[in-house]
Amino acid sequence: MKNTPSAHAGFMARDRAWHPPALHAPYKTSVLRSPNAPLLSLPTSLGEETGPVFGPAMLGELDHDLIHNYAEPGESAVGPRIIVHGRVIDETGRPVPNTLVEVWQANAGGRYRHKKEGYLAPLDPNFGGCGRVLTDENGAYEFRTIQPGPYPWANGGNDWRPAHIHFSIFGSGFAQRLITQMYFEGDPLIAQCPIVGAIPDRAAVETLVAELDMTRTVPMDACAWRFDIVLRGRRQTIFENRLEGL
């Protein structure tokens, strides 16, 4: 039970200069959707240090396989097949086990399966665009999908989103709740994107760029990309005169 967080251990403060600010004018939608008043600071308490728990019984057999989870029997989604994998750890380096990771993305042509989607690229009848997986006891996760395409969006006159996969991660406490996006190493659109540009620190942007991982690439099948995720750190608690985890 040593990885079980203790109530009232609390979380380390969020570094708001590392995250994108609420208001980033080049990302136009943020202008009307960003609070004006400063956030009210509070230490975490029970309600923030606990959170929902998910188990394998809640997940379907193909939930982690976006190539097949929406496809007709015998069919598969169109596009370069990829494996995305990595670890979920916290700021102190401890793995975050048994936590839910949900992903969603556009298809290989850069088109989302959504009625409000306006891009001309065709829908892939065998691609839904969502998947989910639980991390294992070491915080590791892996899913299979197709490489999403970049796409244009109505923001500035000629804005394009780099190819990306959206990630939603829970952690062990509600205060750790995080949604982010994974980008692909080498994509020249990353540097152009107003949403990426909301992140003030270039080093922070680099942590969102997955690296091609030939060691996990499956020959004649799928390229692998590695994307590690860091959630807020829990402060250490003394358990029976020892630091938790030691």
């Binding site: 995250h19 943020s30 309600g47 728990v53 992903v103 989302y112 969502c130 942590t207």
Partner: protein, 205 residues
């Protein structure tokens, strides 16, 4: 050798974007067959103890327009003030109540709805009892990092008056932004304003 205590930096947040429903509530947006049900839709898995309530509301942007593409998650204690969590040490929470809900606003009207139970009181760090409340987390296109707030109940005046958080808010005139109004038997209304006059208090926890 001294190692930094802050070995890794938290992964930076990015907006959930306009199509967050594809990932979190795919059935809402018509993607059927991948997940049987959307997670967080049912907070009750059987008969629950306590008062069953319905919370509805709308999230508004800085010009007063409903944010129709928002997704909200709530996390709360059961009617006895216990969390359905493995680290809950004070007792066993109601096994038929998950404590966690997730809802997409109606894509046309922007209204959200949670079918839940009225939470009991939970102690603050110093042991004082907090007023009944629900933790709320909001993501949408244009929100660069998910917003945390709390829903308290306007009809819990006595508990609210001694709540350790509500009483420490310096700008007391903003306090009503955290109060859900009772609109009927077991029904509450909780509107959230992202910006401007009546802006909801958001927390950095």
């Amino acid at each position: 050798m001294i190692r930094p205590t802050h070995a890794f930096k938290e992964t930076p947040s990015q907006t959930a974007g306009p199509y967050v429903h594809i990932g979190l509530n795919p059935n809402v947006t018509g993607i059927h067959g991948v997940y049987e049900t959307d997670l967080g839709h049912d907070m009750k898995t059987g008969a629950v103890s306590g008062e069953e309530i319905i919370v509805t509301g709308t999230v508004f942007d800085g010009l007063g327009a409903p944010v129709r593409d928002v997704v909200l998650e709530i996390w709360q204690a059961d009617a006895d003030g216990l969390f359905n969590s493995p680290v809950e040490t004070r007792g066993k929470a109601d096994p038929n109540f998950t404590g966690w809900g997730r809802a997409a606003a109606d894509l046309q009207t922007g209204q959200f709805r949670f079918d839940t139970v009225k939470p009991g009181r939970v102690p603050w760090r110093d042991g004082r009892l907090q007023a009944p409340h629900i933790s709320v987390w909001i993501v949408a296109r244009g929100i660069n990092i998910g917003l945390h707030t709390r829903l308290y109940f306007a009809d819990e005046a006595e508990a609210n008056a001694e709540d350790p958080i509500l009483t420490r808010i310096e700008h007391q005139h903003r306090l009503p932004t955290l109060l859900a109004e009772r609109t009927g038997e077991g029904e509450y209304r909780f509107d959230i304003r992202l910006q401007g006059e009546g802006e909801t208090i958001f927390f950095d926890m």
